[in-house]
């Protein structure tokens, strides 16, 4: 038997084990690919052969899914796959020098696999470690607080082929860094409490539905969904914490009222994709109070009559998976999940965790559902909306992690109590992920209505030039706006609060964000797929000194087009960081307007850089004289 056949046999064994654990269910394709890769270091063609045979799906489908996700490799990427987080904060913390050091220590070129096939070093979008960066992922496990010393140690471990499991545990310690806690992060909460409170609130024995239809529908197949709990959620004024701010009570009600087809059930999905650069509060909620989040999901299930739940956990948070599964198992033992929850006959609900694989767009709720179904994460055409036609065409609610945590507290303490916190239009608290130029980066929970200035003072930010609120798709706030407040009536936010002091170049901030959107566009629709690349090229053109006022007009036009023609929110917001910084930090752009008139982006000298690299020459003779020779 040749080496290759042995290899193929071993691979098939791995695939069989994984597929059987997923009940040979093609909707678990992404999970299967991810686990096969964890065992084989990549997804070899033989694995796809086996999946094709065992799942009965065409190869085009498997390769289509595998090709969509950044963290699934259909080509070998080494035994150690290192990805440096490349958010703007990582750059400010010096990730570039660290990456170069690791590359030179390991004799590997950035983005390539080392000649011995041992290691690859690349970069990835924000890993949610901005408060303790620079960060990296090694085989999808997060390491924070990198410095030169640790990089040298890591190079040594890799060179000596030390298995990841034997690396010093201290590397993998991720801090919560909670700097200000309020009702959520301070909640002194006993698992099950909120469910019992919800049950006690129902008119008689907790099975009395507030309307006859859900009584009929709910009883035999699931939790009756007493209207009293839904009423509390509505009374609280709770709005979604994932960015769009949709009223949670209305979403739940629409799902509860959606007609159930035969054999269908209602679904609760927790969106823990947290891909917006600069956001890391869901990571902390899940590590510090997972019970509160799971209980919120169960409360939702109770209120709408759902029987199945999912958490979609971003791939970067893979390290949380085992702990979260242990918490779920514990809840099952406590009868807080499973059948007849809290002794309520028919109250059946369980939660499974699906792990993403490096695709920001999967945070968009319909793309998330596609991904949960084991497909490419392409946003759906809407209408219909998930509340009526969601996971496998069943009525589905998708809510953010923080929304569920708040819902659990509302079930426990009542809607009125919650509505009394925050401002009139924005009830409750908001958790901010503070990072960038300040003394105390970390997690800050405030009642809505807190001013930008207050947050800056609390985290020890001085000499602040700008704050990017809610990440690249949010808004960039300048100094004269620091008295504005966090709240749906003024500055809504999914949680990112990235601070830039006066030494920072806001043009480079915007350029980093534009690169992010270009990398994360799903590629489904023309305007976003091509437009984000055009925008990236324009920003790079300005960066290299070939910009003229003509290019400003082009950026404006692209923005119009992306706003009006794009298929989903990613395309709609992709120009935001550029427009905001042009409007508010014009000098940063004017510095780049080296040209009065249109100048082509093409620069012959820059194009020759690959030739210089190949010949190992960088002397004057290897350069052309150019009129506007911006150095790359």
């Amino acid at each position: 038997m040749g080496l290759n056949e042995m290899h193929a046999e071993a691979v098939a064994g791995v695939v069989d084990r994984v597929i059987n654990r997923y009940r040979r269910d093609p909707t678990c394709m992404l999970q299967i690919l991810r686990e096969v890769q964890e065992a084989c270091d990549w997804v070899p063609p033989e694995a796809i052969d086996r999946m094709q045979a065992m799942l009965g799906v065409p190869r085009t489908k498997i390769e289509g899914v595998a090709g969509f996700y950044s963290f699934i490799y259909t080509e070998p990427r080494g035994k150690y796959r290192v990805l440096f987080s490349d958010n703007i904060t990582d750059r400010m913390q010096g990730n570039r020098a660290l990456m170069e050091r690791l590359c030179s220590n390991l004799w590997v070129e950035r983005g390539k696999v080392s000649e011995d096939g041992l290691v690859s070093v690349g970069k990835t979008a924000c890993t949610g470690l901005c408060d303790q960066g620079p960060g990296m992922l090694v085989n999808n496990y997060a390491i924070a607080g990198l410095n030169l010393e640790r990089i040298d140690e890591i190079a040594e471990l890799i060179r000596n082929k030390v298995p990841l499991a034997d690396w010093p545990p201290a590397y993998f310690r991720i801090e919560d860094n909670i700097r200000r806690a309020d009702i959520l992060l301070n909640a002194d909460f006993t698992p099950g409490e909120a469910l019992l409170a919800a049950r006690a609130r129902a008119p008689s024995d907790g099975l009395n539905a507030s309307n006859m239809r859900s009584w009929r529908e709910g009883l035999p197949s699931g939790i009756g969904g007493p209207g009293a709990t839904l009423d509390e959620i509505k009374r609280s004024g709770l709005r979604g914490r994932g960015g769009a701010g949709f009223t949670t009570g209305l979403k739940w009600e629409a799902c509860r009222n959606a007609q159930l087809k035969a054999g269908h059930q209602r679904i609760v999905v927790c969106n823990a994709d947290e891909g917006e650069p600069g956001t890391f509060k869901d990571r902390v909620l899940l590590s510090k109070c997972p019970d509160l989040v799971f209980e919120g999901m169960t409360v939702a299930a109770y209120a709408i009559g759902a029987t199945r739940g999912f958490v979609y956990l971003r791939g970067e948070y893979r390290y949380l998976l085992d702990h979260l599964n242990a918490v779920l198992a514990h809840r099952r033992r406590q009868n807080l999940l499973g059948k007849d929850i809290c002794g309520l006959p028919g109250a059946d609900f369980d939660i499974e965790i699906h792990v993403g694989a490096g695709a920001y767009v999967c945070g968009e709720e319909s793309a998330l559902i596609e991904s949960l179904e084991g497909k490419r994460g392409t946003p759906r055409n809407r209408p219909p909306f998930p509340v009526t036609n969601g996971y496998l065409d069943q009525p589905t609610i998708v809510n953010n992690v923080e929304t569920f945590a708040a819902a659990a507290l509302i079930a426990l303490r009542g809607g009125e109590w919650y509505a009394g916190i925050g401002t009139k239009q924005s009830a409750g608290t908001k958790i901010l992920s503070v990072s960038g130029d300040c003394e105390r980066p970390g997690i800050y929970e405030y009642p809505f209505g807190v001013s930008i200035r207050q947050v800056l003072a609390d985290c020890g930010a001085t000499d602040t030039q700008a704050v990017q609120v809610s990440g690249p798709s949010g808004i960039c706030v300048a100094e004269n706006e620091f008295d504005r407040i966090i709240g749906f009536e003024d500055i809504p936010t999914a949680g990112a609060f990235t601070i830039f002091n006066k030494s920072r170049d806001m043009f480079e901030v915007a350029r980093n964000y534009v690169h992010f959107f270009q990398h994360e566009s799903c590629g489904f629709c023309t305007p976003c797929r091509v437009g984000t690349s055009l925008l990236k090229n324009l920003m790079d053109k300005l960066h290299y000194g070939s910009g003229s006022p003509y290019d400003f007009a082009e950026i404006e036009k692209l923005n119009q087009l992306l706003q009006s023609m794009s298929h989903c929110g990613l395309g709609h917001t992709a120009c935001n960081p550029v427009l905001d910084t042009i409007a508010k930090f014009r000098p940063a752009y004017d510095k780049r307007m080296m040209q009065q008139d249109f100048t082509p982006a093409f620069d012959l000298d820059r194009e020759l850089s690959s030739a210089r690299q190949m010949t190992g020459r960088d002397d004057a003779g290897a350069h052309l004289e150019t009129e506007h020779g911006g150095q790359s």
């Binding site: 063609p45 796809i48 052969d49 065409p58 190869r59 085009t60 489908k61 390769e63 289509g64 595998a66 090709g67 969509f68 996700y69 950044s70 695709a359 490419r376 055409n381 209408p383 270009q518 990398h519 994360e520 566009s521 799903c522 590629g523 489904f524 629709c525 023309t526 305007p527 797929r529 091509v530 437009g531 984000t532 690349s533 055009l534 090229n537 036009k557 119009q560 087009l561 009006s564 023609m565 794009s566 298929h567 082509p600 982006a601 093409f602």
Partner: protein, 235 residues
């Protein structure tokens, strides 16, 4: 039940379940489109068919018609946006129309003429895409693929074969075929497949057919795309 909406001021009748583009083409009104084909489930990706419905942009191939909608299509603003999308599709791939067998029969080219596109405007990306000439009867020139997924839908939904699929993400999205080797010859594709006939551009081409119909006498040479048969196919 039958209802009406207005399209650029004209009253257009429709029946329950019809999309805007279906109702429009049944009424003989042309809305530019590339990924829409009356015989397949709409995809909604190229965005050429975008119209304004009650003031909001939306793809007319996926939006169901509703009574009383006020739809705008042939406005200077919308056509300028459509023109920009066509330009994007041109620079994203490698389209050298004079040497393309599909020239004159190509919907992208015809749509560009219809919209008055005079240049590519943006810098070309010049992607590096290999041609697949492995199959005895057909050639795949990926340089011209606009990712409309019509071949994917035709092969999956009509031929029951899944010969084609999309892989990659973002600007790296690309067409793949159903073979471990990645070659069309190793799939069960034949020229009799529906998928062999649906490509709106010059990707899926019949071999040994070069210029059988001379340029100048081809479909869109005779009449602009807005006046050819497809317009009313949705009837």
């Amino acid at each position: 039940m039958s209802y009406t909406f207005t399209l650029d001021g004209k009253v257009v009748p429709f029946v329950d379940g019809q999309t805007i583009i279906q109702a429009a083409s049944a009424a003989g009104i042309f809305i530019p489109h590339l990924c829409y084909h009356p015989e397949f489930k709409p995809h909604g990706s190229c965005k050429l068919c975008t119209v304004k419905v009650n003031g909001r942009h939306t793809a007319s191939c996926t939006m169901r018609a509703a009574p009383g909608m006020v739809v705008e299509s042939e406005t200077e603003e919308i056509n300028a946006e459509r023109r920009a999308l066509t330009q994007m599709l041109f620079v994203e791939g490698n389209h050298f129309c004079p040497s393309c067998e599909k020239s004159g029969n190509c919907q992208l080219q015809a749509t560009a003429y219809h919209l008055g596109m005079m240049s590519a405007h943006y810098d070309h990306f010049f992607p590096n895409r290999a041609v697949d000439a492995s199959h005895p009867e057909a050639l795949l020139d990926f340089n011209r693929c606009i990712l409309c997924s019509l071949c994917v839908r035709a092969s999956r939904d009509v031929d029951g074969k899944n010969v084609f699929g999309l892989s990659g993400r973002g600007i790296k999205t690309h067409l793949i075929v159903n073979a471990k080797s990645g070659r069309l010859a190793d799939t069960d594709f034949t020229l009799a497949d529906k998928a062999a006939q649906v490509c709106p551009v010059g990707v899926i081409l019949k071999k040994r057919q070069g210029f059988a119909v001379p340029i100048g006498e081809r479909k869109y040479d005779k009449a602009p795309i807005s006046e050819t048969a497809e317009t009313t196919e949705g009837r």
